[in-house]
């Protein structure tokens, strides 16, 4: 049955990608949520409705961005689906192709299965078991890289969760990584950042106090691709910090991330 979790996960995202095509060319309304960069569209809500219907059939609970959630189930449920109908909606609202449909399955709190589909770039990342992941037809296998030879991708916390000195520390970390690498980017989709790291395009990606739906599926994909995935515990509001990359590059940044993630 657990094998089919990977299948169901990929299937749900595949079907949602087809459904997403029905929004092509339509004028979309985007509404602001907590902050200017936190937006939602009709597509987010429609995809969530369609996907929830399918996921509920499995009998396992679902955590999803555009609904009320009880994060306790992340720890308690045998399997828990974690959905972000569109990760990177702000990008989508501006026709920037870096966004996608993100679904993960946590098994007893572990990142177990994942699928992330990017309709604008026709890229589908998915696990077929805990040790094997693909981008479309190509196997993902992360290769060693140094920080100096890498692009780094960051996902920041929301301004409401990190203020003052804490916020400044986040920007200092970003600046430091930017100066010691090929450059640090903030692209607006944590799922995309992690999957591109699994594909070797970024040497390192990290996120601070991100929502669990932004990262659940992609962290399973990154693990299956051979990345080292280091995370903080998931807090009661469903937030998590993470750093992902080849073990060699994680070693290079270990001490800098300890204040944010804890011991690595």
């Amino acid at each position: 049955m657990l094998d089919s979790v990977h299948g169901r996960c990929a299937q749900a995202v595949s079907n949602a990608l087809i459904f997403f095509e029905s929004f092509s060319g339509k004028n979309m309304t985007f509404s602001e949520k907590e902050t200017a960069r936190d937006v939602v569209s009709e597509a987010d809500l429609a995809i969530q409705t369609v996907m929830l219907r399918g996921l509920h059939e499995s009998g396992w609970p679902v955590i999803s961005e555009e609904k009320e959630n009880n994060f306790e189930i992340l720890r308690n449920a045998e399997i828990c689906w974690v959905l972000d109908p569109i990760d990177g909606t702000a990008n989508y609202s501006e026709n920037i192709p870096f966004y996608g449909i993100s679904l993960g399955a946590l098994k007893a709190g572990e990142f177990f299965a994942g699928a992330f589909g990017m309709p604008a770039t026709k890229e589908l990342f998915y696990t077929i078991n805990q040790d094997i992941a693909y981008l479309n037809e190509v196997r993902l296998k992360v290769l060693p890289k140094t920080l100096r030879a890498s692009l780094v991708a960051a996902s920041f916390s929301s301004p409401s969760t990190a203020r003052g000195v804490e916020r400044e520390r986040e920007f200092l970390l970003f600046g430091s990584l930017n100066d010691r690498s090929k450059g640090a980017l903030r692209l607006g989709s944590a799922s995309g950042n992690i999957c591109y790291t699994a594909a070797g395009r970024f040497g390192l990606s990290y996120g601070l106090n991100n929502k669990i739906w932004d990262v659940a599926g992609p962290l399973a994909i990154a693990k299956a691709a051979g990345c080292q995935v280091v995370t903080s515990p998931i807090d009661p509001s469903g937030r998590i910090s993470f750093v992902v990359g080849h073990p060699a590059i994680i070693e290079e940044v270990r001490s800098e991330f300890q204040p944010f993630i804890g011991s690595i």
């Binding site: 990977h6 595949s14 087809i18 589909g117 026709k122 589908l124 479309n136």
Partner: protein, 375 residues
């Protein structure tokens, strides 16, 4: 190793590299060094010091020949071995492995001849070794990476091959033997015929054989409904080549007829798992299946047998194949996603439309073929 002889290095000791290629060299003139990533095969070659290749010869049946192996190395071992510049290095490792395998040839200056069934590999290897004398070759032959039980009992390293022809870019002329060194135009014509009149129907035969749960490529050719699809695909490609390429039609007709005979050759024992391997590579946009179908559609006709071949490739299941995730994709992803994301067909283009809207019908037609499975 005799110092009086020149040395030939063959990287890739499989069906072509070991089974066929040594037959083309002038007898007793060259020392043979075999390099392969298969550690077990190299161990056995070192231990035994020879292997037997059986060639199917008209009127004589299978004729065996013992080839002495002067040295055999794994790819990693060969990296560090002292070896004078060979007269030529041949590579037959599969298109996906050429870049990695070419690292062992970087130190030499002799010509590198690629028998890779993909002309794009020449540029890849030129970049990898940092020189220009890398050339394409077309072994017009079907060779198997194994042999009949009877011959394997005589020599566990035995293989079977046809009596084929070896076309090599004339700029690589260095080795003497049964090799046809040809100019660019001749090579181009031979490659068009090989790609579309050999590779295309050959892999379709293998995918149909796999659906029929058969072992060798000649097996599906004995099932009338499967044979009809292979012949149909051959005719579709023949028509496309005649309309688009400036190649004498009598040559193409002769080539097509010859190929159908070869696919049915029971003596080859050519495993379906070899011919059908890496289905995603065979389904590449410009390749032998999708590329071939696009060519026919551009010319204004629907190649129904090629569509069946593409569908059969999508249904291929082999747990030991590098591309076995094709089975996962077909089971869980919608056909439209497989076609546009995995095969890179543009949404709405004719082939994408034909395949996605007729996928169920095509599968039904293949199931009809599968019902003809011999007991």
């Amino acid at each position: 190793m005799s110092d009086l002889k020149e040395t030939i290095v063959i990287v890739g000791a499989g069906a072509i590299g070991r089974g066929y290629l040594p037959w083309t060299f002038e007898d007793n003139r060259y020392n043979l060094i075999l390099v392969d990533q298969n550690v077990e095969l190299i161990r056995k070659l070192k231990e035994q010091g020879y292997f037997t290749s059986y060639m199917t010869m008209k009127g004589k049946g299978l004729v065996g020949k013992k080839f002495m192996v002067d040295q055999a190395y794994t790819i990693d071992e060969f990296q560090t071995v002292q070896c004078p510049d060979p007269v030529t290095c041949y590579m037959a490792v599969g298109p996906r492995n050429v870049v990695l395998a070419s690292k062992v040839l970087k130190r030499f200056t002799c010509p590198i001849v690629l028998l890779e069934n993909d002309d794009k590999t020449v540029e890849l290897v030129r970049v990898a070794v940092g020189r220009e004398n890398v050339f394409f070759a077309i072994p017009d032959v079907i060779a198997s990476n194994t042999a009949s039980l009877e011959n394997l009992q005589k020599d566990p390293l035995a293989l079977h091959t046809e009596d084929g022809e070896m076309f090599v870019d004339a700029r690589a002329k260095a080795v003497a033997g049964r090799i046809i060194y040809c100019d660019e135009l001749e090579l181009k014509n031979q490659w068009a015929a090989k790609l579309y009149l050999h590779n295309t129907p050959h892999c379709i035969a293998a995918y149909l054989g796999s659906l029929l749960e058969q072992k060798y490529v000649h097996d599906p050719m004995g099932v009338p409904k499967a044979r009809k699809i292979v012949e149909g695909a051959m005719n579709e490609m023949l028509r496309a080549l005649k309309l688009t390429w400036d190649i004498p039609h009598d040559f193409l007709d002769w080539y097509a007829a010859k190929e159908l005979d070869r696919f049915s050759n029971r003596e080859l024992c050519d495993p379906i798992s070899r011919v059908a391997r890496e289905p995603f590579r065979k389904l590449e946009l410009n390749g032998r299946l999708v590329g071939a179908a696009l060519m026919c559609l551009k010319l204004g006709y629907v190649p129904i047998n090629l569509l069946l071949g593409i569908t059969a490739a999508l249904l291929y299941k082999n747990e030991s194949d590098q591309d076995n995730h094709i089975a996962f994709a077909i089971k869980y992803l919608s056909p439209a996603i497989v076609l546009s994301y995995l095969l890179k067909l543009r949404k709405g283009e004719v082939l994408e439309e034909l395949l996605s809207s007729n996928f169920v019908t095509l599968v039904d037609q293949l199931e009809e073929v599968m019902r003809c499975k011999p007991c």
